[in-house]
Amino acid sequence: MWRRCRSRLAVCAVIGLAVVASCGPPRFPRELFTISAEGAEVPVMLSQTPAGRAGHKIQSESGTYLHQHQTSGTVGMGGFSYTQSAESEMPASEKLNAQVKRADSWVQIERAEYFSSDFSTYSNRTATRRLILEGTAYR
């Protein structure tokens, strides 16, 4: 009897731990915040390089957005809260690479910006994280 109880308790403990572990903070999507040109077919220069001939501007961005809103309840009713979250499907680096045309010889990264904003007020809080890339593709 005790053995059966003990094994059930162990199963419950394992399930409980798994549930607790799954409630941890959400994974930070590193790929959305990476400046990289892996797989690029042309040089993507981060250092200042003498400008080439004709060039065209390219820009991309990726990131995450979280909005939590709480409302207070009226008499006899509890309040409710909702969470809205959004995340870019593609990393900024990939989007930038996709804008490079076949005729382009190389790319100068002019500016990269890591932006974050955490806003709090009485019933709202938002968290915005963004990576913005700007560059010029030269022929």
């Binding site: 400046i35 690029a40 040089p43 981060l46 250092s47 190389w106 990269a112 910006e113 974050s116 990576l131």
Partner: protein, 219 residues
């Protein structure tokens, strides 16, 4: 009384917004050697150097945090040049390729906890002061009790605000920087050598390249 309530709500609304903004920017790096995010790079003469033209001497990585004070807007210009110069100074390389800057995490610090405590402080403080005003208005013994209750609520609000102000763990971008230090191979050097009568040898040409980019420390 209605006007007082409106003023109280307005004061809470004005005082109750806390924003921490942390912006880190990276412009074109001012280095004496080419730095590329891809496997190819543009050399000082404008020529494109591919993977076939160089060998990887060493890979590197380092960590960089960008901190921001709470409830303020902080703008930081990322200066990666000193770290890269140190690496290039220690290794006899010509360029850096496949450089990657990755934010591995963002820590909002005590931003939300501090804001929560401050907001509670404002709420209790204003509510407490309102109760104190009520007590004074009522007067006599009953009014005295109401005033004391209001003072306690105000005190709790002040304490909550102070605790919120003490929480100061900064918000932080956590960045990992990695890449490869590369050296052009002999075949590539000789192919790019000038055709002049007194053309330098491959090694000498490399020295010319270094001079063009400027003197390199540690060499």
């Amino acid at each position: 009384m209605t006007a007082g309530a409106v003023i109280a709500v307005a004061a809470m609304a004005v005082a109750g917004c806390y924003t921490t903004t942390n912006v880190a920017t990276l412009g074109p790096l001012h280095t004496r050697y080419p730095v590329s995010a891809s496997s190819q790079y543009v050399d000082q003469s404008g020529g494109i150097v591919t993977e076939k033209d160089y060998e990887v001497v060493q890979s590197f990585s380092f960590h960089h945090d960008v901190d921001a004070a709470l409830h303020q807007k902080t703008l930081t210009v990322l200066a990666l040049e000193p770290d890269l110069d140190k690496i290039m100074g220690a290794i006899d390389g010509d360029a850096i390729t496949q450089m990657r800057v990755q934010a591995i995490d963002y820590d909002s610090g005590s931003s939300y906890q501090s804001a929560g405590m401050k907001l509670t402080g404002w709420t209790l403080g204003i509510a407490g002061l309102t109760v104190v005003a009520l007590g004074v208005g009522i007067g006599s013994d009953e009014g005295g009790t109401v005033t004391r209750v209001g003072a306690v609520i105000t005190g709790l609000g002040v304490a909550s605000y102070i605790i919120g102000s003490v929480l100061r763990r900064p918000a932080s971008w956590r960045l990992d920087v990695s890449g490869n230090v590369v050296r052009r191979n002999a075949r590539s050097r000789s192919r790019n050598a000038p055709v002049a009568r007194d053309a330098p040898t491959a090694r000498q040409h490399a020295d010319v390249v270094v001079q063009t980019w400027g003197p390199r420390s540690g060499r």
